[in-house]
Amino acid sequence: MRQLPTLPLPAPAPPAEGYSRREALVMGLFALAAAATATGCSAADKLAYEEFVQKHFKDLSPEELKDRLASMEKRYTEQYGKDVHVSATPPQAGVLFGYALDLSRCIGCRRCVYGCVEENNQSRDPQTHWITVLEMDKEEGVNLQNANAFYDHETVPAPGKFYMPVACQHCENPPCVKVCPVQATWKEPDGIVVIDYDWCIGCRNCIAACPYGARRFNWGTPSIPKDELNPNTEYLGNRPRQRGVVEKCSFCLQRVRKGLYPKCVEVCPVGARKFGNLLDPDSEIRYIIENKRVFILKEELNTQPKFFYYYGL
């Protein structure tokens, strides 16, 4: 493949003199706006200002991060009328997450899809699903061109069909990360590809680059019923998103970094979904990779997914 020329990007201005260029510019604009309305600065204005000039997640100092989390919690708590907790759990050392899915067991019941929606606060209307379950012919095998995500049978599995749920593959070599012009998405040390929703500019380059169709764009304002909101949220994971940003599977960051299984693993009624630490030789994920017929999706693209499909039978 032809190597794209890299643009000589200007180095980010060091915030040595108190304010960076970006902050100074935005502050100037806000000052102008405040002067124009002559109303002074209310608490809501302050929050809006803070959000507008905030730094990239990775550049936040521990104190700044604490402030950000606190103001987010305040805003979500007001918005949803219940105690919402936002945290930024760091990755555990010596852990690289991997996922395996048994194609010979999956029955296409979509329990994982809706379990994920509830756990990760996906928009109900307009509808956002991080997992797509594809139905394909057993006789034909894995052929994504003839896959159907909109099957609607009375009962599943339908005769002669098999099912392949697809979500973010958490590539070791993620094309979405490469194309993001603002580095709003990146791969964490534990292998999870995350998005800073406040840094995303909504250009959707990552959606075009992802060969698995795993990323979703919030075309409309996401809506979640207040009583259905999951209040245990993560900065880089399942906190409520805004319109105009991209989201996708995060391996249930808010669960797995605390040692729990992802939600889809726990709701699967046939036990087709497996999860664990790829660096732990005793983990079930390693047992599967070493003993079962495993394949990865679109291997030829060298994306090196950490999501493994296998045949357990």
Partner: protein, 208 residues
Amino acid sequence: MRMRSDWWALACGTVTLLLAVACRPVEEKHPRFGSVMPSTATQDTAEAATRAAAKPVSAPAKSPRKTGAQLYPVAPPPFSDGVFPCSDCHGKTDVVNRTPHKVEFHEDIVLHHDEQNRWCLDCHDAQNRDKLHLADGRLIDFTESYRLCGQCHGPTLRNWKAGEHGKRTGSWSGDKQYLLCASCHSPHSPHFKPIKPKPAPRRQEAIR
């Protein structure tokens, strides 16, 4: 002569060096991911320390004294309401007809599990109904029924123990909760029945 001893010393030195290189402890790395571990500057040291320790946090402690129930903590057996203990009705001194025959009671149970060759007392113990028995006659509790199932389904039991077969809940790194075979498969009719799927996603054209 002087020349020869020099050569001898050189040869000895080379062999020692080669041996030292060959016997150097090899750092254990995963063939696929060990070398491409992503890391940030702040986490480099912590990760290096963990890898040097070479003991994954989640490795379960292996003690030979652990019994089946401790090794594989399972959810309670899924008894129908009011059916256990079986000894409420079946006494230990009852006279039992051990020839396979149609039973007039327990009509809700339909045996569809190699029913040509098997019947109740192949698994349930005739004399102690609160227990099951293995093929060799050893009695086991219902909480260890996977040992009974594993007599025929050996590879499945092996995969279940490794965490490949069946659903695991709890923690990927710490205590795992296993489910008994019978928690998902009815022991009398183990094949899964088709279920109703959740609604299909809305088509993109329909989203406005």
